[in-house]
Symmetry: C2
Subunit: 220 residues, 2 copies
């Protein structure tokens, strides 16, 4: 029906949770490596695994029949991917760069959660964190202007980077589809932020935050 995760990942170094420190899920999963643009899961496929992202960045995308694309989220190291789905994946998950993940069988996870309170709590916590992020994002998409939306994602990325020099792991098109804008509008907002001396593009996929306060204010 569809290839196993290991096959699809073209995996090179599968091993049983080796090298994971302090992750209660480590014992139940297999560590896999995905390369840039690999698909971890495909929209409409049955849900088989939940992934703990160990390193790299993953986007979840939904492609409609008419070609309209919506990115649900960008996931970073530590995130749990695949919680949001029922029997079928609503969104695909794709590696933005080389990623390593811990793949845990859903059935295993459920069984374990039923037996072990810590696992149950971990899932609950991860799920409600994800729900909160989605609520926040819904407000952004629904009620914020283009400049505010772009500022918000840049502020988020800057926060993760922890320094002024921030590199953008995703394309403009990804940003556009995440923010429900067009690529042209995103580009214009970048230019505008640069003209206002809020940021400075130091490369296509790299920027410097010149005025963090202004960025934060716009993002709020």
């Amino acid at each position: 029906m569809h290839l196993s995760v290991v096959d699809r990942a073209n995996n090179v170094g599968a091993s049983h949770g080796a090298g994971l420190t302090n992750d209660p899920l480590a014992a139940f999963g297999v560590q896999l490596v995905f390369r840039r643009n690999d698909e971890l899961v495909r929209q409409e496929d049955p849900t088989e695994f939940v992934y703990r992202l160990l390193s790299g960045v993953v986007r979840t995308t939904r492609l409609a029949d008419d070609g309209r694309r919506q990115i649900g989220a960008f996931h970073y190291a530590g995130d749990l991917i695949g919680l949001e789905d029922g029997d079928i994946h609503l969104f695909s998950a794709e590696a933005l760069c080389d990623c390593s993940v811990l793949a845990v069988r859903r059935t295993t996870l459920e069984a374990e959660a039923a037996r072990n309170g810590d696992i149950a709590r971990l899932l609950w916590t991860a799920g409600s964190k994800r729900l909160r992020e989605m609520q926040q994002h819904m407000v952004h998409i629904g009620r914020k202007s283009a400049i505010e939306r772009v500022a918000a994602i840049l502020a988020d990325l800057a926060g993760r980077a922890g320094r002024d020099e921030v590199d953008l792991p995703m394309s403009r098109q990804d940003i556009a589809d995440y923010l429900s804008l067009t690529i042209e509008t995103v580009s214009r907002m970048f230019s505008q932020l640069q003209a206002r001396n809020v940021i400075s593009l130091t490369g296509l996929r790299c920027m410097r935050v010149c005025n963090p306060a202004a960025l934060q204010r716009l993002a709020a």
Copy 2:
């Protein structure tokens, strides 16, 4: 700091889970009644309870400082409310009409989930159902036109009603804030749907679906 649920609910018939059939949560909660426009939870308050909605309709809303309002969801009988939050409620929850709910202390729920696999699974299932709904809604808000969004919510309501004659439990403003539109645009879309003979307004809060297929097509 803030009033207890029972106080705020101005509750008249609290009882320990009486009258609930087949709800595994029944044993752990208290049944409460809220009146139209009562607040079940207030934005920014600490999360204390999770609510199982037994009857009525509840909206969750986030009000920004600048007055922009986003409705996160409308909840109907059977829904679990308050899953999405961490320590603090991001959204308020308000009764659209008289509602009865089962309030379960969050701490109780967590403890119970850690002990009882069925409860853990129930929470997991409810959470992922909610995540899926939000993803769907995000696509609507982000990538659909005004007419499609309005058609979508009307199709949803019609589906719940299970018949042509559907009454709308929420105001136009609520619909607008749910769909991230203005009240004027919502009103215009209603008129347009009526002009196209897809629906017919039989009252301000009541409509008849004349062409279910067309409505479905628009909503898709």
